[in-house]
Subunit: 167 residues, 2 copies
């Protein structure tokens, strides 16, 4: 059950393999990744490195690290995307709307008027867009590897600045 090495080249996200190029923060227990289909610019994810379905399955060390890294990510996302607020959410289990079977914290920058109704964000998060219900989230085009890698580089750079700031 030892965490994978910090120099791993890929990461588990449920059945999906995430390349290092799509990550921007890696610790022994957690990693942060950019999103194939962000519902807003700056919508990123933080996950435990161990493939774990439910929040309650995480160890205390994993919970602690997940949210300490979640806060580091939140600070960077809020700054870079000039957010006026953040939606922080775990859809814990399929009955709660979880689509990838691996615990993950959504960090989503919010702005005045970003959705017609403030709570439409959750409808979109669960695969409905615009916000007409029951429209498949295939309507959000997946981003290219290049676009995701470029965003990860930007976020890593910004986190570097945070580190230098004594965070």
């Amino acid at each position: 059950m030892a965490a994978a090495s910090a120099i791993a080249k890929t990461f588990h996200f449920g059945p999906i393999i995430i390349p290092l190029s799509q990550t921007f923060l890696v610790t022994k227990l957690s990693y942060a990744l950019v999103n194939l289909k962000p519902i807003r610019p700056g919508h990123v994810l933080v996950a435990p490195r161990r493939k774990t379905l439910r929040f309650n399955d995480l160890t205390q060390e994993e919970v602690t690290d997940l949210f300490l890294q979640g806060q580091r990510v939140s600070k960077v996302i809020e700054k870079l995307f000039k957010a006026e607020g953040l939606t922080l959410c775990i859809q814990d289990g399929p009955k709660a709307g979880q689509t990838v079977p691996h615990v993950h914290l959504h960090v989503i920058p919010r702005h005045q008027g970003d959705f017609p109704n403030n709570d439409d964000i959750y409808s979109v998060l669960e695969g409905n867009v615009n916000p007409a219900p029951h429209i498949d989230n295939d309507q959000i085009n997946p981003r290219s590897n290049e676009e995701m890698a470029a965003e990860a580089v930007l976020l890593r750079s910004e986190l570097g600045h945070w580190n230098q700031g004594g965070d």
Copy 2:
């Protein structure tokens, strides 16, 4: 900035004073409280004891304790309310739908079919019910002090069992 004593009789929740009787878990840095207007049975909150508006304003110690206690609460809520999943959410700032100006984690048990569409829960969470939009959440009747206190007693008792279990 020292945390209030663990034997405090009341707790700050933004401008609201929460009596001890409506809490069911208290640590030096965090507390858990039952809900005046739960959107589902077992919808409870976990908050830092220090009156703090935004997630990013919390210290690392506060983040750590908030989510470790959040996991203890999640385990109890899942068991007691026979949940099939949990919605775990922080509406971080008014632009993200936060209504009480104090960081708080929603823990909401989920069940198959509990809302007509899975994501209707967020519409209700933000004050819309049934799930027609824009209906004032005054339509959720506030619970009596007695009802809230009884639920807190039940949850405290259940957490006691967890404590005895070596948690």
